[in-house]
Amino acid sequence: MKNEQIRQNNQWGQAGTSPLHVSGRDHVMGRSQFIDDIPKPGNLLYVKVMVSPFANGRIVKLDTQKASEMPGVAAVLTAEDIPGENQIGGIIKDEVCLAQGHVQFVGEPVAVIAAESIREAEAAMEQILFEVEEETPVLTVREAIKRDQYVGPVRKIERGDVESVFADCPCYMEGVIRNDGQEHFYLETQSALAVPEDNGGITLYSSSQNPNEIQKMASGVLGLPQNMVTVDIKRLGGGFGGKESQATSWACLAALTAYHTGQPALIRLTRDEDMLSTGKRHAFESDYRVAFDKEGKILAYSVELNSNCGAVADVSTSVLERAMLHAENSYHIENIKIIGRPCKTNLHPATAFRGFGGPQGIFAIESVIERIAYTLGLDPYDVRMKNMYHKGDLAPYGQEIHHGEDIGRILEKLRADSRWDERKKEIAAFNQKNRFAKKGLGITPVKFGISFTAAHLNQGSALIQVYTDGSVSVTHGAIEMGQEVNTKIAQIAATTLGVPIGTIRIESNNTKRVANTSATAASSGCDLNGHAVENAALKILGRLKELVSKLYPGEDGVFENGYVYGVHEGKTDYENPLISFKELVQKAYFERIDLCDHGYYATPGIYFDRDKGEGHPFLYYVFGAAVTEVTVDLLTGRTTLDSAHILHDCASSINPMVDIGQIQGAFIQGVGWVTTEELVYQDKGRLLSSSPATYKIPTIGDIPEEFHIELMEGCMNELGIKRSKAIGEPPFIYGESVFFAITNALSSLGIYPDELSIPATPEKIWRVIKRNKEQ
């Protein structure tokens, strides 16, 4: 379906159509509530968090006496004031809520100050006496490896025998591939509002992708059972992974304040505070070795993926796992050895970010392929197709790449659609004539595995109430952060129950209505919770269908668009509805038929043995590819993105416009990562680029005029909810094609820019050009 064809009339919002954003009206009216918009109670306390300015050291003095006596101050709290456990580590218990004894990264929370106004809290914060015996921080992956400093175990996935191939191969290369981190820059900064209840409990409104973890950690910190802590989340002003675990601190600190003072407490980080304290995408520095033949076929690939995890584990072990599970991307490599090292440094804890290690693992192999193509003088597109997976091939960890033939279909179609071969010629001609600017073309195919690699997280929950007037309330375990999971789930509920989408209302995610949910992450929100919603809806539908059989003997009820139809002569009789949904529901109530139900889903058949590096971790894969063209100004190093062609596999999209919107947004975010978004740290571990004045995400002026996105036809996902595929993360990786378009442009100068790393900023590009000239 081409973009232009997707301007359909959305009938009743059923799956496969593109009804408008269920909160769209509220968004455009400016009345959608985010945490800071929740009406503030009269006795609200504003909380400022004092964070460590040092990256490493022993706390010698933390004196809050003077601060607590300042006007308007209700409380100044430190680790000593934690009633429960000072621990908020999710996977590995290595993370304190408030620093105790020592500090380990710039931005680590040390104390909270609660006052009647922000100004008073800020004034009090200045009165805190805080002294640290500084120790030299460890800031790089190399230093951490030298000291054997990791946040988790070193892991391995291996197949075949790379060493014997390396010992005797036609061609061989080795090198280092680097990528920097990335700031999420969700427009709504980290915020949390804690409201004490009248029974000793507490309700938390948190801008978080993970209500269950907030509930668990807050109850742990306060020493309360989980049923006394309620978390309610309506929506986020952006998440992208940055609120999967990094929202926990702020929610717990707000909860701690409310617990101590008995008053509602609000934390809202300013942009600078947010950027300084919170974790970013993992920077990687990876060492590779590759053996290949003269036709560009990879014979053996060994890569050591070293991630810079910051001071605590956070989700780093899982990020590294995904990086390793994507180290081969779309390529069939018989002999492969993947090592993963999660390095511990004195930086803010690197965390989840769209792609979750996948982009980084893929970046390594894609870089290698580009280098192979350059070395052999082959077309990079050809080299990729030479190595790609075919039907029936197995991944290094043993899983069969189901529908692997789609990789080839997509690559062939995109090659033609993007006019790769003609463009190459046009670009070569341009580069011949132009001394001060060079054009380049890049291609990045993506194969992205869908499911949490931690198998137990693959569960979803839902609660559906059908009211007697036929209106429907749905609660589900995912968090709406702009990806429109709410719209899709409303469509799933509408389709299953056979009612117009307008009668469905998606409620906030509340731990009292759905419990023990997983984070909205791994692109799985709609998959897991959509299945759960379908499950609940089918249960209710089943009972209603039974009633239909009872009321209309012999009739098969077809539920569609608010009516129940009979089937006559093999066709649904739309002319003569049997009954309206509303009337049926009324009857059901009087018949004492349960109109509500809970739904649940657990992804079948997935497992991964991380000690052996073997298993079937993914339910399915998402495929796609992107071709982009850039122009590089050799005098300044600046890059212009000229065009982008993306072909993406959604299988049966539940909402094509939403999916296209996700692809557009993810791609541009990827473009930002590989070009202008540069995190600059000073040598003692403090982030210098801590505001949008210095950290530059793409603007409307950065998107190319030619920007084509197409959803690939003929792809299947039998087990997907409504046969759809997950969308959130895979398209981010298409941004890497821009990086390779840049290296392609630069390699026309005669040397492959080996040292260029993500982001390819103007200055770094200039350095490559300079080095070229000198050689």
Partner: protein
């Protein structure tokens, strides 16, 4: 002098007390609980706080987008503040709201009110904007979710929805405009004992005030502002407070642009936004410089005077003004002084104007040079502070450079006029060799330092390479002329 602020909010008259440092963002969220406006960064760089201001200029009400986190609430006197809450009529959406909805141009919704208001400001001033104008008005609205492609399509959807450009105007505009035109302006003076704000309606009043309030204006107590796009960031983020802020934006004598005898004179209160359109007929190259600066939300209140006085070493207007030898006209209680821009800077953030002097106008000679060009290099194309910038002005006759003038920013504590390089170019042929030859000369005139935006050696190399960029720009302008003929 008034102590309260009288303004219109979504068509309704309001009269409020504020202190001199309260911003529109704070006012709307804390005082009025109108939470559609969001804080995304607090320093004018993300657009989530965009609102629309209607103000009277030259007998008509004009509308512009401003950054609510930078726009002082005290500036609202006599103005019309339109927020997202003022668009829909009960449940009936404004066409722009509907177009954004239909175009699927909203995802998480946080940037959406700002985006819609930027589009409103655009359509209220320009009924049929093109692609380029749309980009100009939206480049200051950051969106992390949509990738902008759907936002870029909004005009298409809007076209489908509106038959008459009048439909863009909220229903209460006409009545409010009448009231605004009849509004009587007087000086505003607010002082809470720690921070004061003064907004005079004339330079005479300003002079009298300064004389009468010595204690408020002595030393470093006083700061002038128009948009305040750096002053307010200083107040909110860098703990840089002033005893007195003087807002010159309501002084009409400072808002003229005139062109006479090859002199373009731009008043101290003329905004960057105004310069883009009004200066274009006389000095299009300068108009281009300003188009590449900041975002519409900032350009609409920021001034050329402010860019000069703020004295950032990478101020984008300064290189060109130095190259063509523009002059700053300062007014003060002790009279008028004329200072060439080349002599305006004495060190990092040290300018010639005394703290109680204000910029009355800047006069720019036009027509003296045959070729004028400006380049800025920054990480991101739009809304990014330069790492290095460079302007050149050349008089060329029969392929020879008769007169040359070059200035660069980002390579020293101030923008630097390059006399040696300028002199080197004079008398030489207009060729690539000449400009390559100038590389060594220019590198001798500056020692850049490294910072978060660029390292020292990159800056030096770019400073040199921009010489070549200037030459190449000349070459393509010649080719373009050939094609036209």
């Amino acid at each position: 002098m008034k102590k309260t602020i009288r303004f219109f909010l979504n068509g309704k008259l309001k009269e409020i007390s504020v202190n001199g440092e309260t911003t529109v963002l704070e006012l709307l969220r804390s005082r009025f609980q109108l939470n559609g406006i969001k804080e995304g960064c607090g320093e004018g760089d993300c657009g989530a706080c965009t609102v629309v201001i209607g103000e009277v200029r030259e007998g008509k009400v004009h509308y512009k987008s401003v950054a609510g986190c930078l726009y002082l609430a005290a500036k609202l006197e006599g103005k019309h503040l339109i927020t997202i809450e003022g668009l829909a009529q009960k449940e009936k959406l404004h066409p722009i709201q509907e177009a954004v909805l239909n175009a699927h141009a909203t995802q998480c919704g946080f940037c959406t009110p700002g985006v819609i208001l930027s589009i409103l400001a655009l359509y209220l001033e320009r009924p049929n904007p093109g692609r380029e104008e749309f980009r100009r008005y939206l480049e200051g609205n950051l969106c992390r979710c949509t990738g902008y492609a759907s936002i870029r399509k909004v005009p298409e959807y809007l076209k489908d929805l509106i038959i008459d450009s009048e439909e863009i105007r909220p229903s209460y505009l006409e009545e409010t405009e009448e009231k605004q035109l009849a509004f009587v302006h007087e000086d505003i003076f607010i002082d809470d004992g720690a921070h004061a704000y003064y907004s005079p309606v004339s330079e005479d009043h300003l002079e009298a005030f300064i004389r009468d309030h010595e204690e408020l204006v002595s030393g470093q107590n006083l700061r002038f502002l128009n948009g305040g796009s750096d002053v307010v960031v200083g107040i909110k983020k860098r703990n840089q407070h002033y005893r007195l802020l003087v807002d010159i934006s309501r002084i009409s004598s400072l808002q003229n642009i005139s062109y006479r005898d090859n002199q373009l004179t731009i008043g101290g209160g003329v905004t960057l936004s105004d310069i883009i359109d009004r200066v274009n007929p006389f000095f299009p190259q300068f108009s281009d410089v300003v188009s590449g600066m900041c975002s519409e939300q900032v350009r609409s209140s920021a001034t050329l005077a402010g860019n000069l006085v703020n004295a950032s070493p990478v101020a984008d207007t300064v290189p060109l003004l130095m190259a063509v030898n523009a002059v700053v006209h300062l007014n003060g209680c002790n009279g008028t002084r004329n200072v060439p821009v080349r002599e305006f800077y004495h060190g990092y953030k040290q300018t010639e104007n005394k703290s109680d002097e204000w910029v009355a106008s800047i006069s720019i000679p036009v027509g003296e040079y045959d070729f004028i060009h400006f380049e800025k290099v920054s990480k991101r194309k739009e809304v990014d502070i330069s790492a290095v910038n460079s302007a050149i002005a050349l008089q060329i006759s029969e392929g020879m450079i008769k007169k040359a003038s070059i200035a660069c920013g980002g390579v020293g504590p101030t923008t630097l006029y390059m006399p040696k390089t300028s002199h080197y170019l004079e008398g030489k042929p207009m060729t690539e060799e000449t400009f390559l030859g100038a590389y060594d000369i220019i590198s001798g005139e500056a020692s850049p330092i490294g910072d978060v935006r660029g390292s020292a050696d990159y800056r030096e190399a770019v400073m040199e390479n921009l010489l070549m960029k200037h030459y190449l720009a000349y070459e393509s302008s010649q080719e373009a002329e050939c094609h036209e003929e």
